[in-house]
Symmetry: C2
Subunit: 343 residues, 2 copies
Amino acid sequence: MVTIKEIAERCGVSITTVSRVLNNKGDSISEKTKERIFRVVDELNYVPNAVARSMVTKRTNNIALIVPDISNPFFADIAKGAERTCVNRGFHLFLCNSDMDKEVEKEYIRVLRKRLVDGMIITTQNTEEYDVIFEEMLEDNYPFVFIERYSDKLADVPGVFAGNMDGAYNITKHLIELGHKDIAFITGPLVTSNARYRLEGYQRALKDHDLPVNPKLIRNGNYKVAGGYRETKTLLEQNIQFSALFASNDLMAFGAYQAVKEYGLEIPEQLSIVGFDNIDMPGVIEPQVTTMDIPAYEMAVKAVTILLDLIEGRTPKESKVYYPLKLVNKGSTAPKKEVQDFA
Amino acid sequence: MVTIKEIAERCGVSITTVSRVLNNKGDSISEKTKERIFRVVDELNYVPNAVARSMVTKRTNNIALIVPDISNPFFADIAKGAERTCVNRGFHLFLCNSDMDKEVEKEYIRVLRKRLVDGMIITTQNTEEYDVIFEEMLEDNYPFVFIERYSDKLADVPGVFAGNMDGAYNITKHLIELGHKDIAFITGPLVTSNARYRLEGYQRALKDHDLPVNPKLIRNGNYKVAGGYRETKTLLEQNIQFSALFASNDLMAFGAYQAVKEYGLEIPEQLSIVGFDNIDMPGVIEPQVTTMDIPAYEMAVKAVTILLDLIEGRTPKESKVYYPLKLVNKGSTAPKKEVQDFA
DNA sequence: CCCCCTACGTAAAACGTTTTACTAAAGTAT
DNA sequence: ATACTTTAGTAAAACGTTTTACGTAGGGGG
């Protein structure tokens, strides 16, 4: 393995000089020397030892991304955006898949924090149970950025956020404007903040339009296909009137879709369905599910940008960024018919 | 930041002793001393500096995973399996998303190889164009393992592989046994080996059953939804008889599905469709697509296991592992009707 | 009483960089 | 000619570990 020392010897200069040239520091090196060094570096195909460099600079140029489940297309997009941004800026990205396990996540943070990585992007959705750790990190001035993780206590943590409440409000409004009055809602796991925000958006929209919030039309889901299926089935069998269904995320909407089809109703003629997330599913169902688009890739790019600013000692231009969401109409909603012909 | 030196001072012993105790080396340390050291370590919440350690051990305990597209559920599963296995064994995983770009992949290999990671898992599918790099790595004894990357020249590289040819053979046979004789086929990008193997499996099955291989029924696809859609449409409009369609991967099968539906044919009554990969799509379409299951997660676990063996100087139990594939019947195929009622 | 062995431990080198503090020579202004 | 500045470079410390080679005290066998 060729080292800087070897380069120096071959060039007849000191290690320092080589280091300076390679790092573009200290401008008092003659062009001739520079050129000679670069030539030898190329010849020997020398690449500086990142570990040794980290040792003295105290920087690894690595960051970590903690996600609950990389198989979820939303987080895959996050990972993609984060990784690309890192590499573009000379960083590398550790992937940490917590599998929704809090202990795993805690352990990641504990180990990584020390010195393996210069900072972290944390997306896992969870309760506020261990804000303690984050407070500690804040005190230590350890750089980290949230993606879609809300905490009242941690107002100082930089982060990027989706406009969940407004999004849910608007998509509900979309249904209301189509004439729907009885709109069922399937929540996400309410321990996560964005699930709560989406619920709140839904409720506010109803209230603002003088519609009652009927608790019987609200079911607790889990952001998974099976949960959407199950809760929808329950709703259908409950024999309560509703002409539209809002599932808190697309995966549950897909489950709902299947339940509705099995029940024998036409979408959207007999029942309108909307989801949330706009996950990129191949276009195999007709109609596809109308949903709110969350710009995951873009959000990840932003999060990494903020993080690298923090790491490199710059003040980020913005440290809390909210992303408004866009409704993507894919045809799974229709005006309410005067006479509802089921149930 | 607390260092080993501080621990040593507090315990009144030398740095060496602390290091030995922590690494469980050199057995001549009294229990009393050990205990004292562990207590102080706990108290100060000391975690050894991984960078300094790497400096001397020449090991980073990091490996890299290079994938073409983390958004593809197949590779997301690979990533998940790889990451979990790493962490279980005290390693961390760099995610490298090449975005199907050869130059990006090359650059990854170049940079990572030096010293950032102890080894690599390489899954990107591509031509044999730069086997040179791999030959170099082999010579250097640099540890790396392939997942689903075939190369005749690189027979010595350890790897895990899916039984593409047999899988394609068997799923074609499945169609033949249902009475289908005119079976259309959409290939993957033929620069990738597994696309070629799948094509070959299809052709062999036809020949073994004395059926002609009709070149007009074979279309070149690209493993993407849009490609499947486009090629299927072309096939349908060509006005050539076929009663079954085999798409080389599920994504293309989804595209095909949509094209067929739009054309007004019933699946599977009028046309049988099969895919490949068994990617985990929420169950929203009826019927879903019959496919071959590739145990991605399991394959990744195996690949990492082999890699860590190599890194840690053990001889892997197996260094080339083939995974036979299982047909997953999801109802998108049916017996051929006597009279085909379309076209 | 001497020698050797074992248990317990230490000092110092090494890993490959970056960075700090310094020097020597040449040019430049007075 | 003198003093100062710029240019071009160097030697050595530092980063936090692991590891190698060594040291010492006490006990047991001869």
